[in-house]
């Protein structure tokens, strides 16, 4: 066995009087890929943030190379060779890709100025390595979420660290980029870098982990060696209880509905008319590679972006959707891809977030009836098993997966005609994933149309009744559930008919 390089010993962390980590131990060996697993809110991100100097810990010791260390700031951690890809994107929008990658440690010329040439050159190399096709001078604000995630990865790779922490790096990546990432990880491993990898995608873990450490409710929940690793054992360690807890109030079924989009054209692909139709009772998946225009398409349908041309019909009637509120009025809801920017309001409480689109239902004469509001919020929290100390918790204090649940839950108290999910299970644990799939199915069973964009092909194959595959802004193929194979989907996604 390789040499252990990092020991985290009996780490405790409290936020106010909420105890998040309780005596957690973690050892990392040289050149291994350690998967850190656990349900949403188990404390994975918190533990890693402690390791890289974002949070101070309440109690415990950290030893690096058998020497006790004190990490007071992100800079300290970097100096010790610890790099971190955060779960949420943390890029500076007004800088370009190269500027973001080298932010805080710009190479300088002889005269002390930032060496732009060198930055561009090295960035181009890094981008090729992660598979992002963009110029280093592209402003980050122009990038899609997935591309931004790739930039984050490139940034961490550029650090040449001893310990690289990746907190759900692939949550919005497709197989292509993931495969590239895994190549890179293997490469790093061979050079002796240790990787701590956090993900909720089981198959990824099976593929790359040398060892799995499971956290459960802020405590060590067990450990699995590569040999012991299989889906069932993992789930047992992580969840340890029956996943199925459906307590949904059954709603009356909607009349049959249909949705048609005819030759709609979007701003990003103005010369590419797209037509498709949806039927109630079915879950339709949209597959495609990063940047294939899936987000653009569904956002245009939901009124976030304006359509250049084309028309949409709901139940055969032409409807005009110019803003999200138009869409919502028609019963068309969107769970957006970028939850931190679009899906939730981090400075508001769970209750307020859950009730935001439904306030009118909870109010009389525009006055919010708080009892009704918190009752409904409580129901959703139970429903989705959102882990929180209280309903008044601000969203920014929730774990990533729990935030995602709130982003979905805010639409579930209403009757949807068309429910659009864009990357719905980003950062969601296995248990909750199953729960979300069940919710989708129930929505469909109740007569809603469900449209799911996801980069996780396995997920799409499990849940969809029908799949549309996109390539560069157009729908390059359509598959029914008995035709789903990885091969066919990929070949459409790469644009081969």
């Amino acid at each position: 066995m390789a040499r252990p390089i990092l020991h985290m010993n009996k780490i405790c962390k409290q936020f106010g009087d909420v105890s998040v980590l309780k005596d957690v131990d973690l050892t990392v060996y040289e050149g291994e890929v350690l998967a850190l697993m656990g349900e949403n809110g188990a404390g994975k991100s918190t533990l890693m943030k402690i390791l890289c100097g974002v949070h101070p810990f309440t109690r415990g010791t950290i030893r690096l190379d058998e020497k006790e260390i004190f990490i007071a700031s992100v800079r300290d951690a970097m100096r010790m060779g610890i790099a971190f890809i955060h779960q949420e994107l943390n890029l500076v929008e007004n800088l370009d890709i190269a500027g973001n990658i080298f932010l805080g440690r710009e190479p300088v010329t002889r005269w002390g100025w930032p060496d732009k040439k060198r930055m561009s050159k090295e960035t181009a190399g890094l981008l090729a390595r992660v598979g992002l096709d963009a110029r280093p001078e592209t402003p980050v604000r122009q990038l899609s979420l997935a591309s931004q995630q790739l930039v984050e990865i490139a940034k961490a790779l550029s650090l040449r660290s001893r310990i690289l922490i990746m907190d759900e790096p692939t949550s919005s990546l497709t197989m292509k980029e993931t495969a590239l990432l895994f190549d890179t990880v293997a490469d790093l491993k061979s050079k002796g870098t240790s990787v701590i990898y956090i993900s909720h995608r089981m198959n990824e873990i099976m593929q790359i982990a040398d060892r799995v450490v499971v956290l459960k409710d802020g405590k060590n929940g067990g450990e699995l060696k590569k040999e012991e690793l299989n889906h069932a054992s993992l789930v047992r360690l992580m969840v340890g209880r029956n996943i199925d807890r459906s307590i949904f109030a059954s709603r009356c079924a909607l009349p049959n509905a249909s949705f048609n989009a005819e030759s709609i054209r979007t701003h990003r692909y103005p010369h590419q008319p797209v037509s498709f139709s949806l039927n109630s009772g079915k879950i339709t998946g949209i597959a495609g590679l990063v940047g294939s225009g899936r987000t653009e398409l569904v956002e245009s349908v939901c009124g976030i972006r304006s359509l250049i041309a084309g028309s949409v019909y709901l139940d055969g009637k032409a409807i005009r959707i110019k803003s999200p509120s138009d869409a919502i009025r028609q019963g068309i809801f969107l769970v957006p891809e970028d939850r931190k920017q679009h899906g939730i309001i981090t400075g508001m409480s769970i209750t307020e977030n859950l009730s935001l689109p439904n306030l009118h239902a909870y109010s009389t004469m525009s006055l919010v009836r708080q009892a009704k509001e918190s009752f409904a919020a409580r129901a959703q929290v139970d429903n989705l098993d959102i882990r929180c100390a209280s309903l008044q918790h601000l969203l920014k204090d929730l774990s990533g997966g729990n935030q995602q649940k709130v982003a979905i839950g805010k639409w579930l108290s209403r009757t949807a005609r068309l429910m659009v999910f864009d990357e719905p299970t980003r950062g969601v644990d296995v248990g909750a994933k199953a729960e979300i799939y069940r919710i989708m199915r129930r929505l469909a069973d109740e007569g809603a149309m469900v449209l799911v964009v996801s980069s996780d092909m396995e997920e799409l194959m499990i849940i969809s009744d029908r799949m549309l595959v996109m390539h560069e802004g157009r729908i390059s193929g359509e598959l029914l559930s008995d035709e789903f194979t990885e091969q066919r989907i990929l070949s459409y996604a790469f644009g081969n008919g």
């Binding site: 106010g16 976030i304 803003s323 999200p324 509120s325 869409a327 919502i328 009025r329 969107l334 957006p336 920017q341 679009h342 899906g343 939730i344 309001i345 981090t346 400075g347 508001m348 307020e352 935001l356 689109p357 306030l359 009118h360 109010s363 525009s366 006055l367 919010v368 805010k410």
Partner: protein, 312 residues
Amino acid sequence: MKKEKGIFIIFIVLCSVVSIGNPNFLSAANLQNTTRLIGIFGIFSIGSGIVIITRGIDLSVGSIFALEGVLLSMLLVSQKIAWPIAVMTVLLLTLAIGWCHGIMISKLKIQPFIITLCGLLVYRGLARFFSNDITMGFGYGEGFTALQRLATGNLFGVPSPFILLLVVGAAAWVFLHRSVYGRYLFAVGQNEEAAFFSGINVKRMLLAAYIISALLAGIAGILLAFYTNAIAPSSHGNFYELYGIAAAVLGGCSLRGGEGSIIGIVLGAAMLQVIQNLVNLLGIPSSLNFAVMGVVILTGVLADKFIRRNKY
């Protein structure tokens, strides 16, 4: 309520200190004077605060006072128009002003700072132009004594501006903290995009905020006009927008939007007035007036910081 606790405690401490320093602070006459001013300043501070909650800023308040005062005097004194009509006219004008600000900011997406700065300049200019730079007064109020009494009088010994503040404050509290729209305002201030994705009509909410601010400035402006009983167009209400903004920020609003409360804003406005009262009552030389004000505010904010920190 948590956020206001700090400023509330500080306010109480301040009042206690002043009344120990000079028991006259609690005399009926002084309370009347001070609450009258708190009433006037509180009303427009609420407007400034609401705009700040949406992440904006309204710099035009002081100039609205000047323009409104000049017009009011022209209508009442020179044109001898019946006062209810005159009051309606100026309030409609302020509404229109707020609407203009709101449209420019929400539709044309120009920075609120710039639009309301232009407002500050233009309305002041118009006030000076209309009045020919001559002080416009209300004299002895022939023909509109009722209005004058309404604006400057007392009701059961309580100055009417203060009563009006209680009414406006209560309405604003319900609007901001209890109604759907208040929630939307906070959401817009916190994260405009997420609010948009949730189906909130962001533009309409911004428009509403600026209209409310201008309208409350309009109401306060009438009270202010009768308080001074004369409008010197070049100086009336000069830089009062800063009082409004300062009251809101002291009361817990953040210029980064999405934070604040009506109670906090009113307490902030009250605190600013008590501080000025303090300077006069404790016999501090006028030249130290500003310094004392600054030190008291700073102490208050630092104390607030520590009160809140110790709660953890």
